[in-house]
Amino acid sequence: MAVAYPFPPPPSLYEPSTKLAELREHEPVVELRMPDGKTAWLVTRFEDVRTVLIDPRFSRAAASGPDVPTTGLGDLANDSILGMDPPEHTRLRRLVARAFTARRVEDLRPRVTGMVDDLLGKMQDRPRPVNLVEHFSLPLPVQVICELLGVPPEDRHTFHEWSDRIMGDMHADPAEMRAAFGSIAQYLGRHIAAKRAQPGDDLMSALIAARDQDDRLSEHELVGMCVSILIAGHETTANQINMFLLTLLHYPEEFDRIRKDPQLVPQAVEELMRFVQLGEGSAGMPRVTTEEVELSGVRIPAGSAVVPSIAAANRDPLMHEHPDRLDIVRGELAHLGFGAGVHHCLGAQLARMELQESLRGFLRWMPGIRVVVPDSELRFKPGMLLRSLETLPVTW
């Protein structure tokens, strides 16, 4: 008997839908009936989710077929690097991987710390409460990704509206989403033309060289890659900054721990990546089995759609003791907050560093930071894939 999806919404910002825990315990591999009438297998245990993300028998490329339900970005993801398997995926991923390694990200850290100080310093002069979204959590990742890519950060208001629409609910209006994608591709196409004439020391110039000198990607792939990096590089991080702050305020003893010992910040970021659910939905990008696979004793036939639930996996008691407790001193911690396998978040190291520097910035500039409205009054943008706040009024 297939279970209907989507599930009832999570009871609070700090808990996943209770249906996930129930399924993880009793039916860890279960057939779902999606809103479009299609079916997919939902996988909720840590080990099984990790297998779905890593094992090549679960194909993303095969998931663009008509029988596969669309979750997340749907067709747009299928058309991009997110819809590819090795070796095609590897060819593109190699071109950008070097720009996002731990070592390259460390080189950027002082620059990011400077941006954090600049933004939080300016917030001091504003009348309180200050909207953190407008003055910190969005501009920081936008500046970082624009610099890395080679796009002027002043243009952020132009592309942010398109980006919002692309990250919106796919089922709401696919046409609008496609139009926004077209607009952002056009915008970046103009920048690519300018960079071709006058290359810089940035990722866009490096990708243009890979295209023009070595023919390692097509023009379509070049534009697509830039669009993906620009959008993925700021929406997710901006939301995590907001959600990390809200979560720490919800668990004040944990916030106190890093106030007293800021050296715990990197650990806190890992625990928060495990704990905080990036979006409201429970199902990740679908995969399709290339052969019959057995997970937790359930046989999944070849050609089946499978959706991994990262939110459920990160709260699996078989993996984490007291999984529903935020505990920033858990120590060595495995989580799937950045996914795993070939589609492991390209910007994971960059996001970690930005999140660490953001928390450190709060501790330096405003250790008593607090949100001035209750959670029930927080306004999230409607239909967003991510938990995207319109505003987050803070004082300190």
Binding site: D55, P56, R93, A97, F338, A340
Partner: protein, 75 residues
């Protein structure tokens, strides 16, 4: 890289178990008991896919050496 070349593969402590290499070259890598990834066997025939794994690792934790010269193979 030419036929008959032998390489040494190594995954160092920087590994964060992203699973990237397991997805790209799953016959060469395996998850160890500590959760981190290790090479199935250090001693392998030269294979381009290993260089893909080296180049894609977010931690630059995978090293491949020429067995004869001991020199690292650049991706």
């Amino acid at each position: 890289m030419s036929a008959g070349d032998r390489w040494l593969v190594e995954v160092d402590g920087a590994c964060i178990a992203s699973g990237m290499c397991l997805g790209i070259a799953n016959s060469y890598f395996v998850r160890g008991e500590d959760g981190k990834t290790r090479a199935v066997t250090a001693d392998v025939d030269a294979d381009e896919v290993l260089l893909d794994a080296v180049a894609s690792c977010p931690m630059e934790a995978i090293k491949v050496f020429d067995q004869k010269t001991g020199e690292p193979i650049e991706p």
